[in-house]
């Protein structure tokens, strides 16, 4: 399964599914990360984590650990 954390800097991808359940999953959905959403990985922090993505016209910082529940293609 390819997740949001696997997308390389500068690349774009489309969300396929959000795995897991509960607060984090809902929070990501509320922020607009839902099935079919296209996003771009803008950069990665100097120490390799977290990553910054551009989604729905704004910038979001997310740790790779949390990005792991977001399946992309």
């Amino acid at each position: 399964m390819k997740t949001l954390g696997d997308v390389k800097v500068g690349d774009s991808a489309t969300i396929v599914k959000l795995h897991g359940e509960g607060a984090l999953r809902r929070h990501l959905m509320d922020l607009g990360l839902i099935k079919g959403t296209r996003f771009t990985v803008v950069k990665v922090a100097p120490l390799g984590d977290p990553v910054e993505i551009n989604v729905r016209g704004y910038e979001l910082s997310i740790r790779k650990e949390e990005a792991a529940i977001v399946e992309v293609s």
Partner: protein, 743 residues
């Protein structure tokens, strides 16, 4: 609720300019930062131009889901029946995501006005928003405003009053017909008591399996089962879960609205992106950050700030000063002259000058430094850079159980613990915030520098021995790390690492007004402390060290001893010091003077040196005076004891001002006690280990050697044992945790 009072709720995403709007229309001085999640609780104030209107500023939220405390506070208030109208503040430069919350607010059935904030920026970008079409689609009036530039505000208030009077028409955004069908069926199952306007809200909530909403409805079991079947069927048909279905539908509605109402100018790279390219660059990010912070501290501590502080200490509260060729007396000189002319006794003059003016003055002396520090830090925070710092530093801090946001308080604490503790406000997670409050004052602050200088002198007899100072800094940093790792494994702080999903706001130049408010809020809190806690405590300390029993007579010692220079030896402070000196015996310092120094250090760390020079009878002893070093060193049996004294005083509970701030931030007596208790216990244990291991190295063993070894073993155990299993259960019982924490 008085019939004449109109209640207006302000809702909106974090960082949408809601608090700026609130401050603007109510004249309040709330804190605004370009940092998501600045408002944690709801705030209430009257509209400044019309006192019959009450404005409630709700915390910034992304959704009305039942998960975070901010979301719960907001929706409980919205559904409480109190608000007559909701102003939903929308960052118009980020319309798509902001509309997601707006849709849900409209769904509550309350009259809503949409305030499209940052209209000026939209115009600058060249985007065009068709407000009339948007209003029709959302079923709510839309007003373009700029809270920063103060435009469109009158129209917004007028529109809100109109909407409240009209009691609103319900917005009619429609989801996919299959979903609408199910929602309709659920609506028909709702009890009659649910008002017409709120039926759709509850139907959607039931569909989402929102437990809070379900329990507030108290649905009969049969109806609840029917709802569950309907939702399950729908989930099967859509091959998705209920929450995803609703979220997807909402964003689909928004996509339609965006198509219809917004014309985006061709996107070019924004200034914000250009700045970001550089400052969070993979290679340059960290060095730039270090450079920025070095510059902040260089300006605040080494140049402007210190120049101001030195001036205050040496002139205003010292020798007097000259201005425009005219000599001015210092504050103590002024008081002395004034009191003498009134015929006041030595006792009163001593109380005022040695007690109050010296004590309060020492604290006020820090204001120039703090002011410069806050001017710079507030700017970095308000412009959006601090959010990037959290992004850059998160990886480091997660290692010991904190998030990137804990870094700023620690950094600020190198200047002063008071603003450091205040800076924890921006950490949303309660456990993280508490832990940061507890550990941040381990970092040596400016007032601890003289102690370090004194230790340097006493240990090696050389003020130039610059390798000692960083050693004590490292001690502070290690104390933070060790405490973080240990505390995270106790029941008080255990839990999964808090998710770090954070919006990185666009950079903007803060408005001068909100920048100033931000600075003033912090500086004024500090000044208030100086005239309350510090004021009271200096009187107490003065009394304790100037009154006592000499040859059977209790009284003002400089008088009853007949001008004896060593009068403090007979003071109440000496008696108290002797009485509790046994506590420090295992640390190697059981003289009452050393104890008294530590006690007065709890009032203000500056006191340690002041007390040392007065108790050791060295007139005007400064931390760089070799006579003071020798007299100070003579109090201790060994080098180990000196180091233990230093470690204890640097790590134990901070000064009164910082303790007061901890109390305010914890907002709980119990948590304040835990924080201060932990700090003192940790400081004592570290002091014990330093002294006992030093003694052991020189061949002296006692029962305390064993105690020190046991403590060391416990710490190592707590550091290296794996995260306990129960730590992953969110409902882990909280009992017995304090014992582990202090071990």
């Amino acid at each position: 609720m008085a019939a004449s009072q109109l209640h207006v709720a302000l809702a909106g995403n974090p960082n949408c300019g809601k608090t700026t709007l609130f401050n603007l229309i109510t004249g309040q001085n709330g804190y605004v930062g370009n940092w998501p999640g600045v408002t944690v609780e709801k705030k209430e104030a009257k509209l400044s131009r019309d006192k019959s209107v009450t404005i409630t500023d709700l915390p910034g939220i992304y959704s009305l889901s039942p998960y975070s405390p901010e979301e719960r506070v907001s929706r409980d208030y919205l559904m409480s029946g109190e608000p007559d109208v909701v102003i939903d503040v929308i960052d118009a430069t980020n319309l798509e995501r902001n509309l997601y919350l707006a849709l849900q607010v409209v769904e509550t059935g309350l009259p809503v006005v949409l305030a499209l904030n940052m209209a000026d920026l939209v115009e600058k970008d060249g985007d065009r928003i068709d407000t009339r079409a948007l209003s029709a689609r959302m079923g709510a009036p839309v007003v373009m405003i700029s809270a920063l530039k103060n435009t469109g505000i009158d129209e917004l208030i007028a529109e809100a009053k109109r909407a409240a009077a009209a009691k609103g028409k319900v917005g009619e955004h429609a989801f996919d017909s299959a979903i609408e069908e199910v929602l309709e069926k659920i609506e028909s199952l709702l009890p009659r008591s649910v008002a017409q306007g709120k039926r759709r809200y509850y139907a959607v909530k039931l569909f989402e399996r929102d437990r809070d909403a379900a329990s507030s409805l108290n649905l009969p079991a049969e109806a609840a089962a029917t709802v569950e079947n309907l939702v399950k069927q729908c989930e099967q048909d859509c091959d998705d879960d209920a929450e995803s279905i609703i979220t997807g539908e909402r964003y689909a509605v928004i996509a339609h609205i965006m198509d219809e109402c917004v014309k985006k100018a061709p996107s070019k790279m924004s200034v914000s992106e250009k700045i970001d390219r550089v400052v969070t660059n993979r290679i340059l990010g960290l060095p730039i950050f270090l450079l920025v912070m070095y510059a902040v501290y260089y300006l605040a501590i080494s140049t402007f700030g210190t120049a101001g502080t030195d001036w205050v200490n040496d002139n205003l509260f010292g020798e007097g000063f000259e201005l425009f060729g005219q000599a001015f007396p210092s504050v103590p000189m002024l008081f002395e002259g004034w009191l003498t002319s009134l015929g006041a006794s030595d006792l009163v003059i001593s109380l005022v000058n040695d007690g109050i003016v010296a004590g309060v003055g020492a604290v006020l002396g820090f204001i120039p430094q703090m002011f410069v520090l806050f001017v710079l830090l507030s700017f970095l925070e308000d412009c959006g850079y601090m959010a990037r710092v959290a992004f850059v530093m998160d990886r480091v801090f997660r290692r010991f159980g904190l998030s990137g946001k804990s870094f700023i308080p620690m950094l600020v604490s190198t200047g002063c613990g008071v603003p450091g503790v205040l800076a924890t406000k921006t950490i949303e997670n309660e456990k993280d915030r508490r832990m940061t409050v507890m550990t941040t004052t381990f970092i040596p602050c400016g007032a601890k520098l003289p102690i370090i200088a004194l230790l340097m002198g006493a240990l090696v007899g050389d003020a130039e021995a610059t390798w000692i100072a960083p050693l004590f800094y490292f001690l502070g940093v290690i104390a933070v790390i060790v405490s973080g790792v240990m505390l995270k494994k106790t029941k008080l702080f255990a839990g999964r690492p808090t998710p770090f999903v954070m919006e990185l706001p666009s950079y903007h130049f803060p408005s001068i007004k909100s920048w100033w408010l931000h600075i003033w809020e912090r500086v004024s809190a500090y000044i208030k402390k100086a005239f309350t806690i510090i004021f009271a405590s200096t009187i107490v300390v003065w009394f304790l060290s100037n009154f006592g029993v000499y040859e059977g007579v209790f009284g003002f010692l400089p008088e009853v001893t007949g001008g004896l220079e060593e009068f403090t030896d007979y003071s109440v402070l000496a008696m108290l010091g002797s009485a509790i000196a046994w506590i420090f015996a295992p640390l190697g310092f059981d003289t009452w003077q050393a104890t008294a120094m530590s006690i007065t250090g709890l009032v203000a760390k500056e006191n340690v040196i002041a007390t040392a020079s007065s108790l050791l009878h060295i007139a005007d002893g400064s931390e760089t005076d070799p006579a003071l070093w020798q007299a100070f060193a003579a109090m201790f049996p060994s080098m180990g004891a000196i180091a233990a004294f230093g470690a204890f005083n640097l790590l134990c509970a901070p000064c009164f001002a910082a303790m007061g701030t901890i109390r305010a931030q914890m907002n709980s007596g119990k948590w304040t006690a835990i924080a201060l208790g932990y700090e003192c216990a940790f400081a004592w244990v570290v002091g014990l280990m330093i002294n006992q291991f030093y003694l052991a190295a020189t061949g002296v063993f006692s029962v305390w050697t064993v105690v020190a070894v046991v403590f060391a073993a416990l710490i190592i155990f707590q550091l290296f044992r794996p995260m306990p299993k129960w730590a992953w259960d969110e409902d882990a019982p909280g009992s017995g945790a304090a014992a582990t924490a202090t071990a």
